[in-house]
């Protein structure tokens, strides 16, 4: 029971710290980075559900992000839909595309699925580049409206400041986190893992693998689309680059380094790498170059080579090391 209490206390402390953060650190640039980290967290969590829990190697995740961003922006700009509904709309439209992409996944796996999903994202990116009437092509959509203000008596959020977006994105991250937790710690999640580990075996015990695949693609795409919508209304600029391979690669690098197939991994990876890459930017004068992505590639290779469960695995190993250290055994591992 005390363990559970400790766990609860820790959660409360984390949430409290997150809630006061913008009151303590008011630097807008920093908050901008934190908001972007939050948006990426939603991306990594949704990708992790697909790749980590169900073993579906989707390399077209950026497409869902882009679809969400464009849909949400266009709903607000062309149809005058409130951005709040636009966020939801972007998620739903992305979810629909996720459902469609689920069909090839019924028959394909491994490199075949990887290439098909890349192809899906590349085709959509080219559509965004070439459908100039709707998307303004490579220029991208600019002047996307801010989220509409909320007023409750004297209290209100205006969305002129990063701080207000911070709370919205924080809410979205927490919402996504609990949804993922529900999904993965339920019969649904267990079935997904069975599907990942042994598809035929899963079928033989009566799991409708095709329904599960379609469902997990739809769900994952919905959240990625929502992240795209948040991105659109936050940065107010959406270009076809939102669907480029690099967005997918950033997402998967963060997830892998954090820990694929773990609950905390995607969050840890997205937040730490976002902050790390900003810190590296300040060192740019020292190195005279942008070494951010070099480091990403390097860390990704190291992660797969030495720590398959990413940072979460390292933390776990360290904990075990410390506890066994007390019993007089050799502490730590050779993890860096």
């Amino acid at each position: 029971m005390s363990k559970r209490l400790k766990h609860r206390l820790r959660s409360v402390a984390v949430v409290a710290a997150l809630l006061i953060l913008p009151q303590v650190v008011q630097e807008r640039y920093f908050l901008h980075i934190v908001v972007m980290a939050g948006i990426y967290t939603i991306m990594t969590m949704s990708w992790n559900l697909l790749a980590g829990y169900s073993g579906q190697l989707n390399l077209g995740h950026a497409a869902f992000f882009g679809i969400g961003a464009y849909s949400s922006a266009l709903l607000a700009m062309k149809l005058g839909v409130s951005p709040w509904f636009g966020l939801l709309g972007g998620g739903v439209i992305a979810g629909f595309f996720g459902f469609l992409l689920g069909f090839p996944a019924l028959r394909l796996s491994g490199p075949y699925l990887a290439i098909t999903t890349i192809g899906f994202a590349e085709i959509l990116r080219l559509v965004a580049v070439n459908w100039v009437d709707l998307t303004r092509g490579s220029l991208g959509l600019s002047g996307i409206p801010l989220l509409t203000p909320i007023r409750l008596g004297s209290w209100g959020m205006e969305f002129y400041f990063e701080r207000d977006y911070y709370y919205v994105v924080l809410a979205a991250v927490v919402f996504t986190y609990f949804c993922m937790l529900r999904f993965t710690h339920s019969e649904f999640g267990v079935s997904l893992q069975a599907l990942r580990d042994d598809e035929q075996g899963a079928q033989s015990i009566g799991i409708h693998t095709s329904q599960y695949k379609l469902a997990v693609f739809t769900i994952s795409a919905f959240f990625a689309g929502m992240a795209g919508g948040l991105f659109a209304h936050f940065t107010r600029l959406v270009s076809p680059d939102t669907m480029s391979l690099h967005v997918t690669f950033d997402t998967l690098t963060m997830t892998m380094i954090g820990g694929l197939g773990t609950t905390a991994g995607p969050i840890l990876g997205a937040v730490l790498l976002s902050l790390l890459s900003e810190w590296l930017r300040t060192l740019e004068d020292f190195f005279r170059m942008d070494i951010r992505l070099v480091l990403y590639g390097f860390l990704l290779i190291l992660t797969i080579r030495f720590m398959r469960e990413g940072l979460v695995g390292v933390v776990r190993a360290l904990k075990e090391g410390f506890s066994s250290y007390g019993k007089g055994r050799n502490a730590g591992g050779d993890h860096d």
Binding site: R107, G119, R305
Partner: protein, 293 residues
């Protein structure tokens, strides 16, 4: 009208030969080691930069031919190094996801290292034939492209002879068909792994020089050949070398004709449309090998 068709077909054949050259290495590596290497196109990028540097030193066609050989050597070594340092340690415990992720890591690493060392601005490899063109019938093309086509065909032909006639070549094919049986027959499997990576990377390096001379050289140029090579490889059936050769030509011609008659803007997506169709109808590729994955 007819000459336009012929012209586009010719262009497609030429670019297709380069695609084949890149894809052969990818499909060989997949066949032998079951590795889907997403960094394969970056071997071409490194090959292209080898040419940029060598030709700054020795210009003209001598430099160009020299840089094709140099690219094969440099990138061949890079292939062996990446195999030893990155792929080999994972042998025996990898899943599809691990392998693809580690190769994506390598892709990101090579791409950005190139950006650090060579700068982001695109560079041109100057045409060793000074823009000379040839006319055959109603079609015309540059001498450079004729040579690109020629070199690709020679490299592909040489590889075919190597694979079919030499003992090592047969060992590679045997390993690709059945690793354990090959091992039982006394094939040194580790040597075959290294050899496959060496040959595959060197071919991609040569193709990189040809590709870079036809287009431009920049650090991010590797992504396109990687994707094209994967399209070709899937088209021909992964692990199927002959399939990769035909697949390359098919993709080259389809892009060229499709870009001309259907939609120029979507030229680079044509390959993806084709493989999505192919995978839905024939999941093992057009020249479907019986066993894949």
């Amino acid at each position: 009208m007819e000459s336009l068709f012929l012209q586009q077909t010719l262009n497609g054949l030429i670019i297709g030969s380069i695609y084949s050259l890149i894809a052969i290495g990818l499909t060989m590596i997949f066949g032998v080691m079951k590795i889907s290497n997403f960094a394969h196109g970056d071997y071409s990028m490194v090959g292209a930069y080898t040419a940029v540097f060598l030709m700054a030193w020795v210009p003209g066609w001598m430099g160009w031919v020299g840089s094709i050989i140099a690219a094969a050597a440099v990138v061949g070594i890079l292939g062996i190094v990446t195999e030893r340092l990155i792929f080999r340690p994972l042998i025996g415990r990898w899943t599809d996801i691990d392998i693809i992720m580690v190769s994506i890591g390598l892709f990101i690493l090579l791409e950005n290292l190139a950006q650090l060392f060579f700068g982001a601005t695109p560079q041109m490899i100057s045409d060793p034939f000074k823009g000379a063109t040839v006319h055959i019938g109603g079609v015309s093309t540059s001498v450079l492209r004729v040579f690109c086509f020629g070199f690709s065909c020679i490299a592909i032909g040489a590889l075919q002879i190597f694979l079919n006639r030499s003992k090592l070549g047969v060992a590679i094919r045997a390993t690709s068909q059945n690793r354990f049986a090959a091992q039982l027959m006394g094939v040194d499997i580790n040597l075959i792994y290294t050899l496959t990576f060496w040959v595959g990377a060197a071919l991609a390096g040569v193709a990189g020089v040809l590709y870079g001379t036809t287009f431009a050289v920049h650090p991010l140029m590797g992504a396109m050949p990687t994707l094209k090579a994967f399209v070709v490889t899937i088209l021909g059936g992964m692990g199927n070398i002959r399939g990769a050769i035909f697949g390359g030509f098919i993709l080259g011609i389809a892009e060229s004709l499709g870009g001309n008659y259907l939609a120029m803007e979507y030229q680079h997506a044509i390959g993806f449309f084709i493989i999505i169709l192919v995978l839905l109808l024939r999941p093992r590729g057009l020249f479907g090998a019986k066993e894949g994955t």
